[in-house]
Symmetry: C2
């Protein structure tokens, strides 16, 4: 089971790198070289981060992306929500009726509890806290 998908992963790495020089405007070319992430994929990711107000973007020659939010205020869970959709462990419940025979669906309750825990843990993890 994959907690973090590739795009979230790449976003983490990119933002951490950018945090090194928080005032600097990075072009995709530059980032792609340093991180070696496939260029068009990285570009898409950066555009999404921009739409979500985590980066600022500058068009035109000499343009690129700039960290907008402090790395300490960007949480892993934010990125997961952006790239992976709202975090939830038991989609199953909503696709099908609750399991016959398990009338009150105890399973669901127990999964909810685990989900609660994971969300709480994930909320605590800022990108800043991963560095150093």
């Amino acid at each position: 089971m994959r907690l973090i998908t590739r795009d979230t992963d790449y976003a983490i790495r990119t933002l951490c790198l950018m945090a090194d020089r928080p005032k600097k405007v990075f072009s995709v070319s530059e980032l792609t070289k340093k991180l070696n992430i496939p260029r068009p994929f990285l570009r898409k990711i950066l555009q999404i981060l921009h739409k979500n107000k985590i980066l600022e973007a500058f068009k035109g020659k000499g343009g690129g992306f700039l960290l907008k939010k402090s790395i300490d205020k960007i949480y892993l869970l934010d990125l997961m929500n952006i790239f992976q959709g709202r975090f939830s462990l038991n989609r199953c419940l909503f696709k099908r009726k609750p399991c016959p025979r398990i009338d009150t669906c105890k399973l669901r309750k127990r999964i909810k509890k685990m989900e609660r825990y994971l969300l709480d843990e994930l909320k605590k993890i800022s990108l800043g806290s991963l560095l150093n």
Copy 2:
């Protein structure tokens, strides 16, 4: 994120139903009617449960499947391992090198901790404990 896939889910439901009459030999036809799970899919699932010694199987006319293990000794995690492979949250680590810049990969450690928790919780859940 899906903790439990469809086949595991179906397996749970089927085993719970069979636990109602632990001595009875159920044919696929019978189970498929009661659970309305697509017949050939259910069949595959039952065969896998048989291979994994959770069910006993009887070939030939009048044959079918019989619960071999007590429902209290079948754990959700067993089924997940059978149908979904060994449970682990961070496959990511093994596909790519640890993230550059995050040298000691704190993220990995934190994910491992969550994984530990989930495994502990999942270990506790027997199918028996879901019923009644």
